[in-house]
Symmetry: D2
């Protein structure tokens, strides 16, 4: 069911914005670093990241399964990143620094995660897209996939914007 939010203009982010957003997302949000979240793609209409499995992320010792909390935490973070990218694309008239500051105003209102299949594997992919970006609230949809592209979890979240 490929439905996308209102089409975004054909925008390519500047290196400074991308580097800055990566730094905020991967390093300054310390818990993201603990999860090992790494951005792999950053576009106005969709963002992707990966997580490498390691022992600290185990939720089920018997099966070496990734903890559901890594999935929910990672997908919440990704939804916020998608909103940030969509906001960034809407304010290309501002400097990269000005746009990055908008990140500090984002807040998750609520999050729902559906766990479809157990997360077992060496790496995982996370994707997020904005379904609607309003002036006060943004709605997003996220996916957590295995390295083979199998859909393991889906999520939806709402964010306060501004």
């Amino acid at each position: 069911m490929p439905h996308h939010a209102a089409p975004l203009p054909d925008i390519v982010f500047e290196e400074e914005f991308i580097t800055g957003l990566k730094k905020v997302f991967e390093e300054m949000i310390v818990f993201n670093a603990l999860l090992g979240l790494k951005i792999t793609s950053l576009k106005p209409e969709r963002v992707c990241a990966s997580i490498a499995m390691r022992n600290e992320l185990v939720g089920h010792f018997a099966y070496n399964r990734i903890h559901g909390g890594v999935i929910s935490a990672g997908l919440d973070a990704m939804g916020g990143l998608a909103v940030m990218a969509a906001i960034g694309a809407r304010h290309m008239d501002e400097s990269p620094q000005q746009r990055l500051q908008r990140f500090s105003k984002l807040g998750t209102i609520d999050l729902r995660v559906d766990y479809l299949r157990p997360g077992i594997g060496a790496t995982f992919e996370l994707r997020a897209e904005v379904m609607r970006l309003g002036s006060r609230v943004a709605s997003t949809r996220m996916e957590f996939l295995g390295a083979d592209g199998k859909l393991l979890s889906t999520a939806a979240a709402a964010y306060i914007v501004s």
Copy 2:
């Protein structure tokens, strides 16, 4: 809104069951250890735990706010623990070891978290109770509170049982 989960018999868990469940929950589920989840109360009808704030759990560098993912991960873990306690109370005819093995069969179907207020503080309390324990599915409700008892987040989740 008075709660109405099926009344559970007046059961007190044996030391062996409590110690075993703590070991599984706080140590063997490695990601719970990373979160710093510590069980403070373990009863058939309600379970409580605490998390001590530390730098690794920061979600918002500007405000020293706890990451929403710590909240979602912690509340998901707590919902599972509540189901485990309710199941344990239903099978007091089994040995503590047999009951503990039931933990490995639990799986989260889905989770919803509502973020009400920013999580700022030195420690946090987490609570969970089972709203309904069926033969195949259990439904739970969870809360994330500040040290002053202020309600910061609420959550609901469904778990596969058996």
Copy 3:
């Protein structure tokens, strides 16, 4: 789990406000009338209503069970009513008419319903309370009960305010 929504001042609504809100809720929102929603209590911190079972509301012909959609629709409506009552209590300096106009600005952002037990009975009770009323977003918690007080469904929703 004691609830901790911000304590609301000890306010009693005027007859004009109550009558007006009932008219809007029970009549002007036509689908509420189709559901048969009747307000039974209207306080700043909690609202209650009832639905009488009838053939049109059947979801499961084999068991005469109420349709899950009546539950989700009713609880969404109740969450909105709870927000309206909380907003009304915050603006007692305005005339009842001015406060009632605020209803038209409310919008549901999202809704989650947990179906715990089948809804079978002659009447049902619905309750809602506001967990947090912000300047832009309100979060609510709702319950759907049998005539005997048994909890049948729970729900949570977020609303745009203003």
Copy 4:
């Protein structure tokens, strides 16, 4: 993000199964008839239906907007129908009547709806697909669209299967 559940065999339902399922869904589930839900497509991997707007379904008198409850009720019904179609496709060895009886065992565990844009229009389209069909639980994703194909609401739900 077009991710589908495990690919279903290339199955075409018999006329008897389709007619029977329509009768159950559109007539015997009385509240669906009240909503005016009409199946437009019934395939193992996806189901579609439509709702014609009429005065009884109004949620917002000021704007002639469809009631959020019609959306949540309709999408819950559609998720169940999608599960029913997926189950039907899995049991083509059974007679149509045997497969139809499976409908009476379905139950919604929980439902989440995200309201993206106001529902204004003469007709609406509803779609649902199964993300995962397990032996005990099925997960679905649903969409509510305007006549112009604009995405108005999305939803996700879990169902007890058996």
